[in-house]
Amino acid sequence: MTDLIEMTGIGKSFAGVAALRDASLSIRPGEVHAIIGQNGAGKSTLIKILTGVYRRDAGVVRMSGHDLAIAGPREAQDAGIATIYQELSLVPLRSVTENVIMGYEPRSRLGLIDWKAAHARTRQILTRFGVDIDVTLPLGRYSTAIQQLVVIARAVSLNARLVIMDEATSSLDDQEIETLFSVVRGLKDDGVAVLYISHFLDELYRICDRVTVMRDGRTVATHDVAGTTKLGLITEMLGRDAGEIQAAGLTALSGGTSEPGRTLLQADGLRTRTGLRGIALDIRQGEIVGLGGLLGSGRTEAARALFGLDPLTGGAVHHHDGVALDSPAKAIAQRIGFLTEDRKVDGIIPHLSVRENITLAILPKLRKAGAIDRLRERQIAQHYITALQIKTAGMEQPIRELSGGNQQKVLLARWLALDPEILILDEPTRGVDVGAKFEIQSIIRDQVAKGLAVLLISSEFEELVEGADRIVVLQDGRSVAELHNPGVTQDALINAIAHHHDKGAAA
């Protein structure tokens, strides 16, 4: 059987830097095919070449045996390739119908858009996915899961032969992921191929038929998923020895045996307009408190409330010094740090140097006669660049030029420079490569051993279960359970979340 997509010898450089060299990919009709690889391995570049966003420098792309020349998203759609991007590719302000039929509107005899027919067609398409909603309302009114399904519905309605899903599940909860997977299986039954990109290896085993591993802009191997092991895939992704990885364990947060000290921060009955409906937790010196729960359970919102970013509508946060924490500046003055989830949006100041990014939160302390004490600033920056092994050409290099993992280390340094008492870590290792992940985790563990208190949010249950001393389980904006280590297993955590979730029934 001819492959649906066959890409061979693909090369692509940006400003002289090779992003892809001799990459290849073959997708069979009706299969679910995964691409995995570390950040910078070339996955997204390869896909953007397939969808016509980038032009390739070398290589051949064939679809069903014919050479394929695509110059833009529209041509890709017309060729039967539909892409569902990480950042949802839809327009929340416009109606569901417009999001589904835009660009392919049914016309009346005068050549004008026939809205009645458009709504009817949209309803019909969505019914296939078990979605029954008012299609005339703005899409932004519906949940992320519905929005995601609408994008897929659009793709399918355009008679796609290949649907590309780029990190499609990253903002869905378990139940929504299950719905998505059944849609994927449905597509497969209809003979539509799915190209699946995900950081979550577990998902691979649940729905994918074959997997292509990429590293350093090259295709390393393509396997039948059934014949692989997780460890084997990670080995290929990293290009490291399997035994080495196994010995290191999958997370470096574990292994702490510190005795928690006095209570630093205590929160009772937190309520906010952002969806918290009763969160209680306390943080003690020298311990890692994990926040467990599904996306939307209020983990990030709880952290924001503690940090003074969102005003409380009920409940109270008691700091051991008795200070009200109603703004980030006040929280920072009490030596509380918050390493945010989205590095680009909430973290780095791209034009400023590594030095300036490191000292951003401690500017008030560097004040000397209204100016910045530049000598001390340089000392501090140099100290953390060395201590955290930040790979940079020098402290004056703009942070935007660093890799993701090193940017994350700079941001970690920003908070460590504060000599924090409490550090809130929201997905501290998301989107960084495995090596940097280990390093970041062991830095955190070292600091905790010295008395730092950490509030850890992580979507990786492994990281939570192995790293946290206690896990506070959240659900629908409430804290519903607390698990104590040692003894917590992933199953126990999942049970705790699932159990209360069923009882909550509000989902």
């Binding site: 500046a329 034009h351 400023l352 951003l360 008030p364």
Partner: protein
């Protein structure tokens, strides 16, 4: 010691392009324009350039926060209309010293207040800077005309006119003023806490807030400085002419200032504030104006030339970014 806000060791077309442009214009004038290489020409250009430079430096700070201030020309008009009103009043005629002081202090205070107004709209009410400053852009000049009833105010007040016609060490007073302001602002941008906060807010506002920076205060500060400098520039214009016409003072100054800032290497997205670049930009804008004028090309055509400079400068900047 390399300082990223001031001097880039790497090639930076926005900056070096401007220097090349300056050399080309100077060379052109030396060859073509009659009487270009004369002290008088230098004085005229310095005194004309000074107002553009002063406003452009303030504009640079605002653009560094990721904003824009369209109201500078109107604020100039407001300050320029107020000053003669004050020193021509009965009170000032009776107390010349106090009157003179008030005629400088009050307009500048009013200008600062305009900055607070702009800054509050942008930072507290989340209005886009273009629209927020468009309000004063129109209403500010309207207010100035209401105050003067649309009349041209002429006066003879040597003490006040020193602002625009005085000489220090043989060079126009306002030239020295530009230099002084530039030195202070450069220090502010590169060395002070406020300057670092300014660049951080412009570079990534959300991250700055998460790091505990007083984002609103910093933004308001930038608009206040910008408006204050615009007010000062308005006074200088009035002092040069010994006359105040609310309809004309600072007319289209926002364009000159934005052009000067952009030509000087300020990124429209914010995060960079090259103060001396703004002065370089102002010099170029002034020389282009002068070149056209001195070679008998109508004022109106100069408008079109300026429009072209703005487009070219921003376009080059975009290209360099990509």
């Amino acid at each position: 010691m390399s300082d990223p806000t001031m001097i880039h060791s790497r090639f930076d077309p926005a900056r070096h392009g401007a220097l090349i442009a300056l050399v080309v214009i100077l060379a052109f004038n030396l060859i073509v324009t009659p009487n270009f290489f004369q002290a008088q020409t230098l004085f005229v250009n310095i005194s004309q350039m000074a107002t553009i430079a002063i406003v452009a430096m303030g504009m640079t700070l605002v653009i560094a926060t990721g904003g824009i201030d369209l109201s500078v020309g109107a604020v100039m008009a407001l300050a320029g209309a107020l000053a003669p009103l004050i020193f021509l009043s009965d009170f000032a005629q009776a107390n010349p010293g106090l009157g003179l002081a008030a005629s400088i202090v009050v307009p500048v205070l009013v200008a600062l207040f305009c900055g607070v107004f702009n800054g509050m709209l942008v930072s507290c009410f989340g209005v886009q800077p273009i629209v927020a400053t468009l309000i004063l852009f129109i209403s500010g000049r309207g207010l100035a005309q209401v105050l003067t009833n649309g009349n041209l105010q002429t006066f003879s007040n040597p003490a006040f006119s020193y602002l625009g016609t005085g000489r220090v060490l043989g060079l126009p007073f306002q030239g020295w003023l530009v230099l002084a302001i530039a030195v202070v602002l450069t220090w502010v941008v590169t060395r002070s806490i406020f300057g670092r906060q300014l660049l951080a807010v412009g570079g990534n506002e959300r991250a700055a807030r998460m790091s505990g920076l007083p984002v609103r205060r910093v933004k308001i500060g930038a608009y206040v400085i910008c408006s204050g400098l615009a007010g000062l520039a308005g006074l200088i214009v009035v002092a040069i002419n010994s006359a105040s016409d609310a309809a004309r003072i600072g007319n289209l100054m926002e364009l000159d200032a934005i052009a000067a800032a952009v030509v000087g290497g300020t990124l429209l997205q914010g995060g960079r504030a090259p103060i001396f670049g703004a002065i370089l930009g102002a010099v170029i804008i002034q020389l282009v104006k002068y070149t056209l004028l001195a070679n008998g090309i109508a004022d109106e055509v100069a408008l079109i030339a300026k429009a072209a400079i703005i487009i070219a400068a921003v376009y080059l900047q975009q290209g360099w970014k990509e």
